[in-house]
Subunit: 578 residues, 2 copies
């Protein structure tokens, strides 16, 4: 890696930039901008922040990602899950809407950015791998359910609190009789419209004579249309006087210059949430980026992505924003709309900047229920309960990890949920590798192949036992092999040779080496010789430096067949007679 | 396991018990009893308990182990490391020598016994496997150094305190000028005598005309001789009046009947230490037991051992003792002296009981420095610093685990040391498996073998890439394969086939399956087909139930050679021309 790669990824594409690329990028930027304006407002609200903060968080991060990012089409900004994590983290420390809340958001983005940057520079991107797919799936589904439950109260115009998902649902049911009818009509109407718009708008526009490309682009504007329509209706009916809560005054202007709070004890409090936000954001961003890059035979570099996301979050922190990452929906739209280079991101940033400068007065009459409706529709597409069925069928350990992550997140919140999921999946993996599959194998007659004696009709001898260990040997499983060999020796008085077929052993650590030495010593004491066969190159290299091979009572054979032919020719002869 | 095994191991040997076995067992019991008396007194002192407690802890546990244990020669009782852990645990909660201290010791033995019993009944013996050899080595060496440093102040007759090893050593150096000359003469004299006795007594006795067997037995009595000699000298000189600290009055009689403190909050405080004591004791005991059993083609059953050690510790708790386990030195002596069955343990228990009943007045004049000297000589044989060199040479990860365990134990104590060692070795293992060795392989000309392209002169084709992954695929490493394949596709425009050689893949979890699906999808998007070869039976069984194989763009081949012959025959043809 790294050889011949330019210092900044943009050097790759900036040289060949021409008019055709410019036009593709501009078209994509317009479409993404239209999509991002309502999303940014909504995710800021989800994070407990004023709407303009969502716009701010979509400007500097987009620009910085364009400079440092290795994906050509990834669009960075506020996303649902990270906004929820932000709200959960800061909600416990400050009142939503207060100035302090905003400072905490900026500080969280700063810490997250610094961590991502550091992880990138130290090449620690592999840490994200410890979030398994089942844990991520369970976590995202649970987060989406938490978000949807939280937004429903805004859509229904009621007050309902709850410390976890189940309490929230219970609170919604209890408060349902107090639903504010007009608010609910706006909110649920928008939800229905957006669900319909997903499938219905494009065919309708095509039937009206528009080209499919244009129809597709316009369909992306459905949330904007919903916001505009409900804002107009609210203005016309002055519904805010009838209890419909509106966005209200949104300050107009450039993003402010902000600094994080320099407070060490606060940093300690925010450190774990910031780390979790960083890792979740990174995982989400990289998987989107990789999927899109592969479609054009491009490549993204995970450690580069860490640096780019780190810079983006630092940018968000310096411009009054909150934690951001690469978003799935917006990146796919950017890709589909034909974006060729990160310049599309720069143009999108300019578009959002213009919105922040000029458009905010138009947001005054937007009902909060409409914003919540766009969130609910967006996050419900993240709910994936099929993972429960598929992991149940494929692997009980993975199923347990999904259930634990999902259950703990819903019952206790995003942080405990993630931690429980990661811890459980690691423990289950260790448990699995600590009980390796050890097969006693015998010769398949007429071949040089060896198979499990329990599954196949194979030839063996009471004088020789062949064991195949289907796992690398390390401290957690080395003693299992000891037990197995001890049992063999105790059960078979005629035993003279034990041969370990090592074809699936990728590593032998110091504990396993001592176990092998102990096995060899005990076998010698019992008058049995220990042999190895099919030891891999790298494993053999390490064993060569040790006393184990010098003291080994038996030999190391290149193939298992060779070992048997030498040590127990009766097996081979029997077999060839059949 | 378990089929045809009797309910109690003793049913195996009690039936065939005859006069010859009885005589072997009796001889062994006499030798072990002589060895155990000073050891028991010394380890009780090390644990901060009165000397008779050491005798009590060597009676009931020996009897119970004889009934439940699966080893025929293991001798159970107080051992150095567990005594140190007991002192560390209780020392923070009560004054050594107080009645409360004794109650805490009994409670700790009770909790440890209950945990061992429970682990045995739930078949959780595998948990002990997570203590790797390097961690155990580092821990035992550090414990031995801690013990020796702690005993040196008794040997020198000075007062020196320290919260960790380094402070203890510093304290010893500072207080050295206040050394009590007579005490030091006794203590250091005993140390020198015991070191000499190890090698010098047996040849001397042989030269005096004794048979080697008898000489060997008498050599084992060296510590008793040392104790008797210094006690006699102290009595003759009435040295206790000159500041030599003696054992003093030791109550005479049967072990008392005791009960643990029924105090839930105390149990919570003692839970973690009790668990660590249980696991360390179990690991020490099982490894001794296995080594000795193998020499006679016998076998010990780890889950049985948990039950037996659990019963032994419960027995210690009910008879005024403290945590016990199977000891190395005493078991080896028992074995060498010819013990045939656990009846030898029963006879030893009777011997110790007689000592508790009759011998304690004779202990009055024994100098404490003599007991400390026997401890120092015993534990110094546990110090093994060669493990540092051998792990450095064999595996840096194991070396780090030793250093961390050793360092943290010396600097912060036994509990943090063990926990740090286990945590670090697990993390290092996870780190290692998260970065699997992935080799690109090519055909060795004239064979059907495939080898790493970087190491061997092999045949490849720009149209096909063969990858061999040397690790099971799971969540922590699945993305590494994704990255590698993405890089290949981005670098090689001519690429049409990727073949994964799966011979070393023992498992594919749900995350890795999703990664493989993502890889396949991305390869399809890029016009490349993904194939598998040499997939193991159990892995194939699980894959068959999934959509992955149905959607796979390529095929699954039995052998890698077959795959290449079909997909890139030019490689095979080139090769055969050579």
């Amino acid at each position: 890696m790294g050889a011949g790669r330019p210092l900044l990824p943009m050097m790759d594409w900036a040289r060949g930039y021409d008019r055709a690329t410019l036009s593709s990028d501009l078209v994509a930027a317009v479409i993404v901008t239209i999509m991002l304006i309502p999303q940014s407002l909504a995710y800021a609200a989800l994070a407990g922040l004023p709407p303009q903060v969502g716009l701010y968080a979509s400007i500097a991060p987009l620009l910085l990602y364009a400079v440092f990012g290795s994906s050509r089409v990834l669009a960075v900004g506020p996303v649902a899950v990270v906004s929820l994590m932000t709200a959960t983290t800061i909600g416990g420390l400050a009142q939503a809407g207060s100035a302090h809340y905003g400072v905490l958001a900026v500080t969280l983005a700063f810490l997250s950015g610094a961590m991502l940057l550091l992880m990138g520079l130290l090449r620690l991107g592999f840490l994200a791998n410890f979030l398994s797919h089942p844990v991520i799936s369970g976590f995202i589904t649970a987060s989406a359910l938490l978000i949807a439950a939280g937004q429903l109260k805004v859509i229904l115009g009621i007050k309902a609190e709850g410390h976890n998902f189940f309490e929230q649902v219970l609170g919604l049911l209890r408060q349902a009789p107090h639903t504010h009818a007009l608010t609910a009509a706006i909110g649920l109407g928008t939800v229905a419209f957006l669900f319909w718009a997903r499938r219905g708008v494009k065919p309708l526009l095509c039937r009206l004579g528009l080209g499919p490309r244009l129809a597709d682009g316009l369909a992306k504007a459905a949330p904007v249309a919903g916001i505009a329509a409900t804002a107009l209706l609210t203005w016309a009916g002055q519904w805010q006087d009838q209890g419909v809560r509106i966005v209200g005054t949104v300050p107009q202007g450039l993003p402010p210059l902000t600094l994080p709070a320099w407070d060490w004890s606060l940093w300690q409090q925010l450190a774990v949430p910031a780390l979790l936000i960083s890792v979740v954001g990174f995982v989400e961003s990289v998987s989107v980026g990789q999927t899109l890059a592969a479609k054009r035979r491009q490549r993204i570099v995970p450690d580069r992505e860490l640096v780019a996301l780190g810079a983006s979050n630092l940018g968000a922190a310096l411009t009054g924003g909150f934690p951001v990452t690469g978003g799935f929906a917006r990146s796919v739209v950017n890709f589909d709309a034909g974006a060729q280079t990160p310049a599309a991101g720069v143009f999108t940033a300019v578009g959002i900047l213009l919105a922040a400068l000029l458009l905010t007065p138009a947001l005054y009459y937007v009902p909060q229920a409409t914003l919540s409706a766009t969130i609910v529709v967006a996050v419900l597409s993240l709910v994936d309960l099929r993972i429960l069925r598929s992991t149940w069928a494929y692997s009980r350990a993975d199923f347990l990890a999904v259930v634990a992550t999902l259950g703990v997140t819903l019952a206790a919140g995003v942080e405990p949920g993630l931690v429980a999921g990661v811890a459980l999946s690691l423990l289950l993996y260790l448990y699995k590798t600590s009980r390796p599959h050890i097969a006693e194998v015998g010769l398949v007659p007429g071949t040089e192949h060896f198979r499990n004696v329990l599954r196949h009709a194979v030839r063996t001898s009471p004088r020789l036992a062949s064991l195949r260990v289907d796992e690398s040997l390390y401290f957690a499983n080395a003693r299992v092999l000891e037990d197995r060999v001890n049992a063999l020796v105790a059960e078979r008085p005629q035993l003279r040779h034990v041969v370990l077929q090592c074809s699936a052993i990728n590593d032998i650590d110091a504990s396993a080496l001592e176990s092998l030495e102990a096995i060899d010593q005990r076998l010698q004491d019992a008058g049995v010789a220990l042999h190895l066969s099919e030891v891999k190159g790298p494993v053999m290299d390490r064993l060569r430096g040790t006393g184990f091979l010098r003291h080994l009572s038996g030999e190391v054979y290149l193939s298992h067949y060779q070992a048997i032919a030498v040590l127990a020719p009766e097996i081979v002869e029997q077999a060839s007679l059949v």
